[in-house]
Symmetry: C2
Subunit: 311 residues, 2 copies
Amino acid sequence: MLAPGLIALDWGTSSLRAYLLASDGTVLESRAENWGIMHVPDNDFASAFEQVTRPWRARWPELKAIASGMIGSAQGWVQVPYCACPAGIEELAAALVSVRDGALHIVPGIARFGDAPNMMRGEESQIAGALTLHPELAARSLLVLPGTHSKWVRVEEGRVCDFDTFMTGELFALLREYSILGRPARDAANAPEPEEMEEAFTRGVLVARDAGRGVAKELFSVRALVLAGRLSPAASLEYLSGLLIGDEVRCALSGMNRAGPMALIGEAALCGRYRSALRLLDVENTEVIEGAAPSGLWHIARRAGLVAEPA
Amino acid sequence: MLAPGLIALDWGTSSLRAYLLASDGTVLESRAENWGIMHVPDNDFASAFEQVTRPWRARWPELKAIASGMIGSAQGWVQVPYCACPAGIEELAAALVSVRDGALHIVPGIARFGDAPNMMRGEESQIAGALTLHPELAARSLLVLPGTHSKWVRVEEGRVCDFDTFMTGELFALLREYSILGRPARDAANAPEPEEMEEAFTRGVLVARDAGRGVAKELFSVRALVLAGRLSPAASLEYLSGLLIGDEVRCALSGMNRAGPMALIGEAALCGRYRSALRLLDVENTEVIEGAAPSGLWHIARRAGLVAEPA
């Protein structure tokens, strides 16, 4: 095994992922806990950190650790001030805040200030990773990070220059769980066929694509189509997913500078949905980048001098 | 007291309102229960009907009763087929379905069929009432019924010709209760001053007015503005309300034929919000019509020959 050089934590709202990285950034081992910052036992971040990293720190006590995500928010371990746009690896590495006598360094988020403020925490490290994994994106690109709060990010000269946030993932989950739109699928006896699901998703994307003023008027169609017998209850959530993702993609594409290549960063299945929606809006062959977080954390840590060199 | 001529029920998803009407349509008495169709004890609609109308039917056993709303849906007492657009009092009265040996007649909803189906249940009776209370709206008008599922309705020659549905009320309630956007207000110690609330609402409407592609990109601003210290947690839900109502009004106005006068139908406080939003989008002095449901039910019942004439 390569010599370990760093412990990296992706510590968000709902989960905690820990990586043991080699001194060249290779992932040697990883662990996951359901200890997102809202679910840390007794709200004791120090103890959660000790537990998840104990086997590694016991064996290699000199290893430094770095973390990014909501752990650096007001609800996290310590509130780390945002870096202002434009910001990249250099700015992030210079603004780390440490806890536990320097055992753990927390990466700041990135914010746009002014009249229309916006902020991210965690995505900045995924972006740093994606830009080092794919250097062709660094000069100028448009990066999309689908999720609970999707980010559309303009990159120039290796830095985040500007970005927008869409609450698509949170909205979908709320509508599925609690709204009248989710009821037919909750009551449906059969899961839909894969082909029917894809068809319903595509149909939702196309409705959103053609709704130039936004989907406010189209949301209720999820229910109306089911009541009218024109959409199966089992496939109705796929149609809703297409409607919401289609609306995000249409709105984002028409509002952003699209110069340079585009890429999707995140989990493969969700990125696949965005890739399909982008294709229906005439953006072909968008690259999908997975596993960017540990790579970004390693590059930020190396820039900050935290990576142990092999003996 | 005028002689009673009809019992009218406005029986929706979350509540049941019962009216004793005179033979000329005047409201003599009214009662309200929390027995919306989702909350009827033991799902026993007949027993709920008996209980809420017992004092009136005991005294005037010959009185007929009429009901509209979700009581005529698949989840209600009996599923009453929709009338197709265009439909008005005549079509509704001809399509009543009765239960309890003709003791209770249920008004159908109105539907638009075809590729983009849409439906209403309950609003058709409010519209019938509004058009008889304000005959100047009958020839041609645009009626707005704010609510859980707001309706924007085109009326021609006394009939509902076309309409759209916006899930604004349901969306606001979900975001307030369950989303990250509701958290600052849930945690806020102080209620905002009325002036601050109005200012935040107006601000939300103006952002939505200027978001020509829809508010998908703006929703997260509720959180970002609070985090950046540019919106008080206590007023943040007023801003969200303005954002969602503003988006509905912008989207509806730009998509509908606006020939003829406009009016708002519904509860005064909610209609007031829509009136303010309409004003910010340059639609001045929209009339607000309250208490339209019993009046509409009376007119439909009279057309169907159900109203007892005074002895």
